[in-house]
Subunit: 129 residues, 2 copies
Amino acid sequence: MVQIRKRTRDRDRRSVAATTLAELLSPALFRALCDPGRLQILGRLACCGKSCTVGEIGEGCEVDLSVVSRHLAMLREAGVLSSSKRGRNVYYGLDVDRLAAKLRAMADALEACCPPGAARRVDERQRKS
Amino acid sequence: MVQIRKRTRDRDRRSVAATTLAELLSPALFRALCDPGRLQILGRLACCGKSCTVGEIGEGCEVDLSVVSRHLAMLREAGVLSSSKRGRNVYYGLDVDRLAAKLRAMADALEACCPPGAARRVDERQRKS
DNA sequence: AGCATACTTGCATAATGGTGCAAATACGCA
DNA sequence: TGCGTATTTGCACCATTATGCAAGTATGCT
């Protein structure tokens, strides 16, 4: 009885994890991160540690400023960056903790979704048969 | 003196973190994950918890099996899935722990790269001026 | 060997994405 | 208001990617 109740709880937990996983693994986020130029911007903002204007971010980039602007907009729409306008300037900033939390949530959801114990190895099935 | 030594260490740590970050944030990985179909496959394999054949994975997918096969190959090349052949079948499996570890490493690198303390808030700069 | 099954690959096509230039918009300042 | 600066947007072009179909390869079975 205890055993059955426990299994039921496990199944529920996995089910919730599955929906969570599907929500967390959004194509849009990965889409935003899959371009080298955008990743470069992300890295810059992470290391710089403060929000910067489009012009500042574009400095040293070989691409047109309009491209940088579009990259930034895309990262903002994906929830990676936040922006705020101040005078003529638009400051884009990376909320490191937010992004880190999102990545860790994905990791957690992946593990929670996975059936407990047995099935964590890729090659298990081959070994059996 | 102690203060200076500490700052130097912090700078070193951030510098290492920056290179690590650049290595971890690989476009290829995000590239592999940015397609809805591939994410669906990933989710299935995560929840199923064991490696499956191409045919099994393709069941219920509306796309051609050749597309599934290509998606799987792409995920394998990105280091997300591993595969092994057994008879006529090819088993693709997700190593959940490996992927989760990769995501957490990204989160750690992001935080390590960020200058300590002050600069974790996006809107700090606007508040100053 | 011959045939069936499982998967991959070549190829053509359609869709999507990245880029630069030029024009438009938004704003501050005199 | 008029001008200069910062950023975004429209548009055309080129490159990349996704897809389905058909053909190819690899393997098991009789």
